[in-house]
């Protein structure tokens, strides 16, 4: 059994890790820390876990965490980079669901996150945890920067087109929509039911922190320079991300459907839908799946890709466990076979 610790388990990615890990056949939950809630049984905060998770939140402690095989950080940026070095030194594998180990370029990190990076050497070693791109490196990694939710959906959608060199990489558009759980379990007026319900809006149009992460990922898929317009929007629902991606074809693409199907033929968690389908976010609610459809409307020179994920699963906790499975030599799908909850 893999002994697992979680740092910062009071948010939505935390409870989602707990839900999935408590049902994982090869995992033993060892510790879950929260400075603010130390002592409170986890199931008191999240009654869905009553009878299934007996742990209480504990004070963060290097000793306790060092006794784990794997530690997940479900924390705001800036936390994992403080604690990761010691854990790694103690032989613990680290998976950061925050942003500390995603951006390889230091100035970019510091510009978008407004703080210096405290362990550039470990950042240099960290692997970006998108298995469909970096599977082999993840298998060997000691530390993984788990991708953001939007970046997961956008990269998986553009990947076949960019690798095949079919679209102009300088003029990509990602129109992305996320459920409110993406904003986290934080007491903020803008996330109130009476604010976010029955309404829809864009946000961060001039610049969202996921923009440099996506650009970095897309850059790795082509030799040309990436130019991306990324507009995120807030959906009046809890879970789910839908991205609508637009690219301009630079040559005859042949069958886009065949291209996407072959690209993902062996991927356990990417499902290319039949031609003419439109993936619904609910079809992946609670599941670690990304469903994708590709279109060339009116046979023109614009290609449209639709991709959906559950932002808390393939966009966070599920993908983190997928990475853990790879890092620990487990079957990649272990503990990740839940079927989406529909309706």
């Amino acid at each position: 059994m893999i002994k697992v610790g979680i740092v910062g388990g009071t948010g939505y990615t935390g409870v989602e890790l707990l839900r999935l890990l408590a049902q994982h056949p090869n995992v033993q939950l060892q510790a879950i820390t929260s400075r603010s809630e130390a002592g409170m049984p986890v199931a008191q905060m999240f009654p869905s876990l009553r009878g299934r998770v007996d742990l209480a939140f504990s004070e963060p402690s290097l000793d306790v965490l060092s006794a784990c095989d794997v530690v997940f950080f479900a924390t705001p940026h800036g936390v994992a980079m403080k604690q990761a070095p010691e854990l790694l030194a103690n032989g613990v594998k680290v998976i950061d669901l925050g942003a500390d180990f995603r951006l390889t370029d230091l100035p970019t990190f510091e510009k978008w996150y407004g703080m210096p990076h405290s362990c550039p050497d470990i950042l240099a070693e960290a692997v970006y945890g998108l298995p469909e791109v970096n599977r082999d490196a993840i298998r060997k990694a000691r530390i993984v920067g788990n991708p953001g939710c939007y970046p997961t959906a956008v990269q998986l959608g553009f990947l076949p087109l960019l690798r095949a060199g079919l679209i102009d990489p300088a003029h990509l558009i990602a129109d992305a929509k996320s459920g409110v759980s993406g904003a986290g379990r934080k007491a903020e007026v803008s996330s109130l039911f009476a604010e976010a319900g029955e309404s829809f809006k864009a946000y961060g149009v001039n610049g969202h922190r996921h923009l440099p992460e996506i650009s970095q990922g897309l850059t790795g898929m082509t030799t040309d320079k990436i130019g991306l317009t990324f507009v995120p929007h807030l959906l009046p629902m809890i879970r789910g991300i839908h991205t609508t991606l637009y690219g301009r074809l630079t040559r005859d693409p042949g069958s886009l459907q065949a291209l996407f199907e072959s690209t993902y033929a062996n991927e356990p968690f990417v499902d290319v839908m039949p031609a003419g389908s439109t993936p619904e976010t609910r079809s992946v609610k609670g599941a670690n799946t990304c469903r994708i459809a590709v279109y060339r409307p009116q046979g023109g020179d614009t290609v449209v890709v639709l991709s959906v994920i559950d932002n808390l699963v393939k966009g966070a906790a599920g993908q983190a466990i997928q990475n853990m499975n790879l890092m620990c030599g487990l079957p990649e799908t272990a503990g990740l076979t839940q079927i989406a909850l529909l309706p």
Copy 2:
């Protein structure tokens, strides 16, 4: 492996049966029938099942169904009673998620469902599938009438009080609220998003089909005559039932909390919440659990019970599988250990 067939799989209880059975360790899905959709792959109608359920809907056929060990009917009333006799004669166990085998009194059935019963002898043999009340009989049953969603939540809430003889059985009140999926996957104006969203109303105040079913169940818990006022309401959400039950105490009840906890101490799917808790429907979303809390406001003579279930799981498909497990000698919780999806 138990070979399972489903009759009428195009509704919400049908897809929920599929979700749960596809993950059940002891089940092999054999057939799912739908006259209207014969030939269509199940996963085309419900993309959440892509890659997990390969069956296509088939024409109802006695041969195919008779090759099953268990057949579930997820059909409107009137269907199961037509087909059950032959299946039973062929040695198949039958679980009806509809209403054909719930009411033991023929005139009551005929009054509320507006049709004669076609197999009164089998009705007489059928067991009402509420395991917390009828576990032993279910184990030996060939045919089970699976309880309705409201009746499950109301009966589990009143049971400790009625058995202990603490409340006046002649003046019970059940104020019940259900998500829209309870109305089924039928094209009706009243269930449209733009009709049922951002609104709340009562319905069926003068008489709902679950009233006689609940009354029958409560009658079995006491020697006195039951008088029940049952008011169902429609919630602007998809899944979940919450019932708020009111009873008038007839004597000093002692510790109601202790009574409820001891009543359900050994029940795997009934969770008595700590005193002062208020169960949320989302704490059981996707799970086969009923969570209950009990109150005596201001120490007065009115007792208030709160109970929540997922109408599609403990209120339908999950409870049906719990019954199957009992009928087939499997562990009662087999295939029913999913943790609720929260948030």
Copy 3:
């Protein structure tokens, strides 16, 4: 034109006052104060008011408010009682949408709100602003305590029955459900979209601040002692309250429908629905109307009343303006004729 000031306009009752007053034919908006947001244009916080309300939030100032004819307090309890005495002394009429002037019994106020009352003399003078009960007194009042949202819906529902002496006043049950806007525009985890959405729960079962207010109101409708069980619940929607009221008949009531219709025949804002109807909260969304239906299920001895209001209109801002109209000698319906927004 009536010159109007609002103290504390950053919440939902504040913006609702602004929406209604900006369209009121006899009102001139003079000032809206907020210590925390002083200087910010109101329409920047609430873009729905762009082009319609040009005011900016200002520091609370006795001078500015004293130049008004009427001042509304849309503030937490404890604020209005501090400022009302001086305003009244300056000849300003005061309407408090908070709780400072609702409860006439001082110890009750202090028990439930946890603070001493700072102006008991003015409290003694204040009129409880439920026009259907206190219209004449409101006309002459200098200061009105505007009813809470739940109390409005519950009192209007029980009033005909209690006045007619038809039900046992010692065993009343009010099962109440409110949209999330009732919790105000406060950054609290429990009101987040991802917490309150797709779920339903009771709260405050052991005692809610509206309980003593309702009991006080009902007490005025009968000579007998009131015993009330009040269970509020949180609905996954923004606006609307639905109460389901239960009373035990003590004698043959005759036609309940006729009783309700005659009671409210001349009320501009109470609509008794036809027999057999179930009022939907959306039928009053944005309108100052309370719709009511009455039932006697199965002809038994339990009467069921359904009442719906928009918690922000008839449950707060609309009723406050109705009171202003009465206090200022305007037509009672002035500025309150909007039709509900459906769907």
Copy 4:
């Protein structure tokens, strides 16, 4: 008073026309027809209108409608073109909220709507009812084709850019999102609460009927050929459209903010938001307003426009009344001054 008739008032645009017209100071509602519901009081179907609209649905009748000054068609395509000729001949002005008089090119109409047009001569005379583009022609029109909901939002967003010749008209992208009420009050599985709630998807990617309408409108704003990719999506909410528009700049645009503000400086129903704002659909819920914001992310060569409307108001009934006002010489804003309902 303008005497008004409505043909087909049982849908959402019908009830919205009633809500607005019942509060219009210059209108007398004369008749509302529905073959299927003839005889039923309108307020029975839509209780929000109780006490405000006394009409009952009547059989469609040329006599009754010919006694009106203006007749609105809130009907599926194919109905208005059958009845409009006689009404016009009788001196009645006609406003069609359906699609019969929007597309000026006959083959385009017949291709997308699958039927021949029955009165091409009247189609040739009809004016496309987008006041911000065609105000003068509308003033003189006898018959107006009221724009579709998506086309209104998209055209108002692109108009300043195309008129100024700033973007490449051959590669426009409109990523549009609509609430479920846009699908109408039709009993369809895909519009059920349990289907459309808590989910998001695209639809009609290969071709939506609003595509030719938008293309026609945009074509009128430039001398170059229009190429448009239009992807509509379904939002889990009732009212509101948000379009996110992308164009490639062909030259230095100067201040886009100033361009938009000057373009719409005198428009009563178009509100250009301050730079950096993101319009929310709820800020126009129930109001006849289109709010717009414009961005040039990272100072690149892609311009992003965000526009929101209430699909039932500025996207249907409100715009139709705006057109009526123009056609009848009333103030353009008469009856259209409601403030949006927020929250």
